[in-house]
Each structure stands twice: as structure tokens, then as C-alpha cells.
């Protein structure tokens, strides 16, 4: 079983999750952490560590999705990487969350494979109109 934590700047996590749940239905294994300008990084880091501990105790692996490579949410999360226990993907988008909600038979795959699969899926789901509308 995998739990997903979306870690972003400001309130993006909250709204991204609300939107994903609006489309795909509630998901108890999907939570968000938004980092505000006024937040102390160390406090956020400790909060994430506690969340991860809680999931691990419940027998769940943790997939962290961050909004932008190089940003604080990503920088904090990368330091929490643990092979096969905590994996981090940066550049989260709505297709990725929807894919996680429905499209992966999670029990059959390892954390690393799932992370690789959604990374590829997120990339593939960015389109420019000219790519397919220009004849």
C-alpha cells in the first residue's frame, strides 16, 4: 500500500488534491502539505518526518509529490528519500494525481516503479495545441 503526500508552495497542494478528489472521488491515502512564506522550514520538515513515520507504522510506503524541482518543498522532501520506503517525484500535475487515483495496480509494483511510471505519465500529458491541430 502506498500513501501519497503532495508537498507544494503556498496552497497548491490543498487545491490540487481538492480538484483531483472532485474528479476521481475521495482518497484517504492522499494528503497535502502547503509551505507558506511564513513557515519555518525545520517545522515543516519535522511534520513530514512524523507523517512518514505514521504511514510506515501502518505498513505503507510513501510517495512524495512536489510542485517544482529546486523549490523549498522539493528541497525538504529530497532529504527524506529512503530507497523503497520514501520516493520523491517533482513537478506534480493533475494527470499524475488522477493516474494515482485509478490507473495503477499499486499492490503489484514497487515504489520505485510506480514513481517512474507516474513521472513518465506526467511528462507525456503536457501538450501544445500546434502539435496535433496544425495540419
Amino acid at each position: 500500500m502506498i500513501a501519497t503526500i503532495v508537498v507544494t508552495h503556498h496552497t497548491l497542494a490543498e487545491h490540487l488534491i481538492a480538484t483531483a478528489e472532485f474528479i476521481a472521488g475521495p482518497n484517504e491515502n492522499l494528503v497535502g502539505v502547503g509551505i507558506l512564506q511564513s513557515d519555518d522550514v525545520e517545522v515543516v520538515r519535522k511534520r513530514l518526518v512524523e507523517m512518514i513515520k505514521k504511514y510506515h507504522k501502518a505498513g505503507k510506503k510513501v510517495l512524495i509529490l512536489t510542485d517544482m524541482f529546486g523549490g523549498t518543498p522539493s528541497n525538504i522532501s529530497l532529504a527524506l528519500y529512503e530507497p523503497d520506503k520514501v520516493e520523491i517525484v517533482s513537478g506534480v500535475n493533475l494527470p499524475i494525481l488522477l493516474k494515482l487515483a485509478g490507473g495503477i495496480k499499486k499492490s503489484e509494483k514497487g515504489l520505485k516503479e510506480i514513481a517512474a511510471e507516474i513521472t513518465e505519465y506526467g511528462r507525456k500529458n503536457i501538450f501544445t495545441a500546434a502539435e496535433f491541430l496544425d495540419l
Binding site: 508552495h9 512564506q37 511564513s38 513557515d39 519555518d40 522550514v41 525545520e42 517544482m68 524541482f69 529546486g70 523549490g71 523549498t72 522539493s74 528541497n75 529530497l78 532529504a79
Partner: protein, 163 residues
């Protein structure tokens, strides 16, 4: 070499730096001056990775960073952003011979007993004293999270809080 920004930021290289300050200043190098990070392999690696690909990143102790900046000064080329995790590191750098005329405060976060003077700036008594010492050495100190936000004078804000 020209230093385009001296900044105190406890998040070091992060969104505001890579998305705002680097394009605004056209910086091509970031020097992180900190006494802990050079000894922490994981943190150093994450910091290096978080910078845009064309930016050179130097992660040095405060003392090494000051020497590095002095050596580079005479040479041509890179526009540099110098980052400090806290005010204490700036004081150490100035004691070690760093010369600066302007200091940007970006993110200094709250802890018990600190006075919050802006969204992302909370100062301890010692930090306020250090800032006053820097001011006496003609360093202009402003709070400005991103280039498009106004630069606010730190002492005006302190005054409004009764300091």
C-alpha cells in the same frame, strides 16, 4: 566578478532564488557561505541540484567563501549571488573581511522569543544588534522577498515595532 546580491535566506537556493532573483540579476553563479553545509554531503548535493543547470554553485565555509570572493573580485566574468543561512554568518563574513554595501533579507524564520517584523522575517535580540552593527559599517539592509516586491528598510520596520 560582480556580486549582484548578498542575501540572508534560511531556505538558501529555492523557488524565489531560481525563479525570481537569478533571472532578475542575470546571475551565473551562487556562492553559499555556511559552516555546516559543506560537511553534509546529502544537503550539499540537494543544494547543487536545486540550482538551474547553467548556474555554478559554490558551497563553502564562511571563511573560505570570503577568500573565494576576494580572489574572484579581480577576475572577469560571473555575476554572483552570495547566500547566507542567517545573520550570524554575515557577521562572520564581515569579520573575515567581506566588504558589502547592501544586504537583502529574504527568509529568516520564527523561533521562540523572536520578533516578527515581516511575513518571512523574525529577528532575535542578538540578530537585531548584529544588524545595527552592520548598519554602522554603512551596510544598507532591506527586506525584499522577490525583486517585484518593494524593498523595505529593516530599521523602519523595527522602529514601527518599538525598537
Amino acid at each position: 566578478m560582480t556580486t549582484v546580491l548578498y542575501r540572508v535566506d534560511d531556505r538558501l537556493i529555492h523557488g524565489q532564488i531560481i525563479a525570481s532573483w537569478v533571472p532578475y540579476t542575470r546571475a551565473t553563479r551562487i556562492v553559499v557561505a555556511d559552516n555546516q553545509i559543506p560537511g553534509n554531503l546529502l544537503q550539499s548535493k540537494i543544494l547543487r541540484m536545486s540550482a538551474p543547470p547553467k548556474i555554478r554553485v559554490e558551497i563553502l565555509s564562511v571563511r573560505q567563501a570570503v577568500t573565494f570572493m576576494a580572489q574572484q573580485r579581480s577576475g572577469p566574468g560571473l555575476l554572483t549571488i552570495m547566500l547566507f543561512v542567517g545573520i550570524e554568518a554575515v557577521v562572520q563574513a564581515v569579520e573575515a573581511g567581506l566588504y558589502l554595501t547592501e544586504l537583502n533579507l529574504g527568509n529568516i524564520h520564527s523561533a521562540a522569543g523572536k520578533l516578527q517584523i515581516a511575513d518571512s522575517i523574525s529577528l532575535s535580540r542578538n540578530e537585531i544588534i548584529s544588524l545595527r552593527d552592520l548598519q554602522k559599517q554603512d551596510v544598507k539592509i532591506t527586506i525584499q522577498p522577490v525583486p517585484t516586491a518593494p524593498a523595505r528598510d529593516v530599521f523602519n520596520l523595527l522602529q514601527s515595532k518599538g525598537w
